[in-house]
């Protein structure tokens, strides 16, 4: 019985680096959204609050999908 994975550890390491770069960009985008929305909210501007929340949740879903794929890559096939 042999153990197989979709990628070797070296390949997965490369994929993880790429994912971290993508996740970092999305997280920085979310941080910017949060700061801009807080500024708008404190200034009484309500128009941007829910669109910004939707964009932030979309970024979260993208990040969660990437993390899920990361664990999928480690799945062992026998």
């Amino acid at each position: 019985m042999s153990i197989r994975r979709p990628f070797t550890r070296e390949q997965r390491m490369t994929v993880v680096y790429g994912m971290i770069a993508f996740i970092l960009i999305l997280v920085i985008l979310q941080l910017w959204l949060l700061i801009a929305t807080m500024n708008a909210y404190l200034g009484g501007d309500q128009a941007v609050i829910w669109p910004a929340a939707a964009a932030s949740i979309f970024c979260l879903l993208l990040n969660a999908g990437l993390l899920r794929y990361l664990y999928y890559m480690e799945r062992v096939r026998e």
Binding site: M1, S2, I3, R5, T8, R9, E10, R12, M13, V16, Y17, M19, I20, I23, L24, L26, V27, Q30, L31, L33, L34, T37, M38, N39, A40, Y41, L42, G43, G44, D45, Q46, I49, W50, A52, A53, S56, I57, C59, L60, N63, A64, L66, L67, L70, V76
Partner: protein, 218 residues
């Protein structure tokens, strides 16, 4: 080659004579028996950092083997997981702002309240009052005989109490040298990014009433 392999196993047995069991070995008996040996899953083979074979490794490394490639991979995977958790926190923060906005809208219009008497405030004079809550300090400024201005006293940077300088035409925050224009309340220098909230006024006879607060982004 085979002789060398046999020596290799012999040296392992010699070291672990006291505590070796079927699946544990080493001086403390905590090291997996297959730490440096081939197993079915090739990724579970521990690789010494210098890459040399087992019998060249010091005893402490045999007892406490660390698979550095695996350690690096797990560290980066955990960092990715931490960043996704940060992403979750930011998304929750966004939703929290939305919920706060709903609560603010449900509170409705602010009450109308008498804050001063016109005759008690000379031209160029200022007065501190609380509106709409007892902890919301505001400043009333009599710019000229028929011009009254009122702003929140909390700086929009870090909520320090701002001080009006009527003769200079500015409102100054002493904490970080923020400056606001006295006539408009707009931020003109320093770290504040938003104008001061403006208190809307109504003058009825000699009485000055606050009727609402106007928050602004520009």
């Amino acid at each position: 080659m085979n002789e060398r392999h046999a020596d290799h196993h012999q040296s392992r047995d010699a070291v672990d004579a006291r505590v070796t069991t079927a699946d544990r070995e080493g001086l403390t008996g905590t090291t997996p028996a297959d730490a440096y040996s081939p197993v079915r899953d090739p990724e579970l083979i521990t690789r010494p950092p210098d890459g040399r074979p087992l019998h060249y490794q010091p005893q402490w490394r045999k007892d406490f083997p660390i698979d550095w490639p695996q350690d690096h991979y797990v560290a980066r995977r955990d960092f990715a997981k931490f960043m996704v958790l940060t992403s979750l926190a930011f998304a929750v923060g966004q939703v929290w702002i939305g919920v706060q906005n709903i609560w603010r809208r449900r509170r409705g219009a602010l009450p109308m309240r008498k804050i001063a008497s016109l005759s008690a405030l000379p031209v160029g004079g200022t007065l501190v009052f609380q509106y709409p809550g007892p902890h919301d300090d505001c400043i009333l400024i009599r710019r000229s005989s028929d011009t009254l201005l009122a702003y929140s006293q909390k700086c929009t940077h870090l909520s320090c109490a701002v001080i009006p300088r009527v003769e200079q035409g500015v409102i100054r925050c002493p904490c970080h040298e923020g400056l606001f224009d006295l006539d408009t309340g707009r931020n003109i220098a320093g770290p504040p990014r938003r104008p001061l909230p403006r208190v809307e006024l109504s003058i009825r006879g000699d009485d000055v009433y606050a009727t609402g607060v106007k928050w602004r982004t520009t």
